[in-house]
């Protein structure tokens, strides 16, 4: 116990130096916390945007549907499946929040003289509103049978406005030219230019009829789960579910959005690298402090040795000094970091000054970045800093306690 007290007291023998070191550790830790928080914030945001915009967290397709989106490769193949029952089954699962069926087609939309190619997406407006944020719920609610929502750039190209009548023409599954008239119920701005240029949302029944697909045939079921980070597990569970038609493939966003997955891995790596760098810098600062503290006390170490105090115990006093140094630094740093995090999670970091409207990896990125606590990384960074401090103290102290008492007592007295 006396050793612990000695360590604590030693800390305050040169209080200014100790405080500066403590401040250094505190700032380093606070910065690390904020940095980790922003990193996680970006991950969460990219993940939300990447998945909740349209993709969802898990998708079910026929095995051969992606990547070509062949019209004929519907879930359950030529016969299709009882997808309404399948969706009901998915919804009963604990982890599942929303489920939406989709049909895709490519074709021509036209107001007469003005025509353009379009990606037609047949949706169930209510289910789609629960799952994706690409088009807001009120807009989707306008999507009655016989109507269509078109992208803003596409609308401009066609000269179509709300209420305009447009013709949709496509190659139907039976070889005929599927064609029908639709009323434009709304113009959608998704924030993704490639969609604004080409998308036409229709009621799922309408698009099935246009494509001459039987009502049992759909191309995709998108699933939203409670926690996107656990989507791979959810996807595995769903793929083992009873009543799944033959030949389907169940994939999570990790397979569906490989660039996003890669980016998240990359971001994690960069995070760890920066934290490592901070730890190294802080360690050198502490190494310097502890070296000073050790060598100015070389006389008293020699004295203690001469009295017969075991070198191990002397070493321990230094270690405790470093322990308290780190403890204070980390505690203050945590407090500071928590304040910064509070600010960043409430108000966020406004990136508009640098970026303007931001879109990355084909998803929309909110230019205001909100920090999110990543406890695991914060604790890891704290422990790394702590361990680094103690190691930085151990190295000079180990050398000092082995000093020959006679030589030590001859050393000049330092203030």
């Amino acid at each position: 116990m006396i050793i612990v007290r000695l360590g604590w007291r030693n800390l305050w023998r040169n209080s200014r130096r100790s405080l500066i070191t403590i401040a250094g550790i505190a700032f380093a830790f606070a910065f690390t916390i904020a940095f980790i928080g922003l990193g996680r914030g970006l991950v969460v945001q990219l993940l939300k945007n990447g998945t909740e915009l349209m993709v969802g967290h898990v998708q079910i397709h026929d095995r051969d549907y992606l990547p070509d989106r062949d019209l004929y490769e519907t879930i359950g193949n030529q016969e299709g499946c009882d997808w309404k029952q399948l969706i009901a089954g998915l919804k009963r699962r604990q982890t599942v929040v929303a489920v939406a069926p989709r049909v895709f087609g490519f074709g021509l939309v036209s107001t007469g003289e003005q025509s353009a190619g379009a990606q037609m997406i047949g949706v169930d407006p209510t289910a789609e509103g629960d799952l994706s944020r690409l088009v807001d719920r009120d807009m989707l609610a306008r999507l009655k049978p016989g109507s269509v929502l078109i992208g803003s750039t596409l609308a401009l190209e066609l000269g179509a406005a709300e209420g305009s009548e447009i013709a949709a023409v496509t190659q139907a599954a039976d070889g005929t030219l599927g064609n029908d008239l639709f009323r434009v119920a709304g113009i959608v701005r998704t924030g993704l230019s490639y969609l604004d240029r080409s998308v036409a949302f229709m009621h799922i029944d309408d698009l099935q009829r246009l494509l001459a697909l039987e009502p049992s045939r759909i191309h995709e079921i998108a699933v939203k789960v409670r926690d996107p980070l656990t989507a791979p597990d959810a996807s595995r569970e769903i793929s083992r579910m009873n009543g799944l038609p033959e030949g389907v493939s169940v994939q999570s966003w990790r397979q569906l959005l490989p660039q996003l997955n890669d980016y998240l891995g990359l971001a994690g790596g960069a995070n760890a690298f920066i934290i490592g760098l901070v730890v190294v810098f802080v360690s050198f600062g502490i190494l310097n402090t502890m070296m000073m503290a050790t060598f100015e006390r070389i006389r008293e170490i020699g004295m203690l040795n001469a009295f017969g105090m075991r070198p191990g115990l002397v070493l321990l006093t230094f270690l405790f000094e470093a322990f308290f140094l780190a403890l204070l630094g980390l505690a203050i740093g945590f407090g500071l970091g928590a304040l910064i995090m509070r600010y960043l999670s409430l108000y966020g970091l406004d990136l508009t000054r640098w970026t303007g409207q931001l879109s990355m990896l084909q998803t929309r990125v909110d230019p205001i970045l909100n920090a999110v606590w990543n406890w695991k990384a914060v604790v890891a960074a704290g422990i790394s800093l702590w361990v680094a401090t103690i190691i930085a103290a151990y190295l000079p102290a180990r050398k000092a306690v082995r000093v020959d008492p006679v030589e030590a007592l001859r050393a000049p007295v330092m203030q």
Partner: protein
Amino acid sequence: MRIWRLSILLILLGIVTGPLFPQTSQQRAKEIIDRVDRMLRGDSSVGRVEMTVATRQWKRTTELRIWSEGTDKVLVRIEAPKKDQGTSTLRVGDNIWNYLPKIDRVIRVPTSMMMASWMGSHFTNDDLVQESRLARDYDITIEFEGARNGVEVYEFLLMPRPQAPVVWGKIVYQIRKSDLMPVWARFYGEDGELKRRATFSDYQTMDGRLVPALMRMTPQDKPGEYTEMKYRELEFDVKISESIFSLKSLRGS
């Protein structure tokens, strides 16, 4: 829509005297193709065609009526089956319009959809307008002259001119020497891989002229799929009223 004719016409129209190629070869190619064209094409024609499209999922036959005049006016109207009856396509110059009777709308095909399928067949909208463009966009030379499988033939090579906005990397076209009947045409992509082939057969005399009554287009990347155009009737140099190639007549009125 008669692709065999399209190709030939295009070729022949080419006042193609590219300075890089020997005059004689170019001139001979032009001369031969001119003659082929004169045989296969009158100033105008009216025909009845049975078009069969086979894909992995379905196979259907439609009956078409085709009017054409010169090299840049074509009207195609589906006469059967009932479901498609009245669906029509008009091509004038580089423009294509489709008429869809079910919704009673005329739709102009945008440039971005030129490579899309025409009426579900293995022809693209672009094939319709190529007739007038090939001669403009390709240099034509005789690549081979001699016997293939015991038949004396010419093989013409069509290479896109620099900067020509073309779809094909090259086209090779075989014509029988004896009667100047087309045998096949092969269409290659930009990297030189074979994309599709057209084969001509069933040579018959129609309205006093020998023509290949059957043409089959086979895409290379979809095994088992093809589109066949079979001429049932064909009349040459018929007097066609100008008004036939108008949006009004496209609507069938």
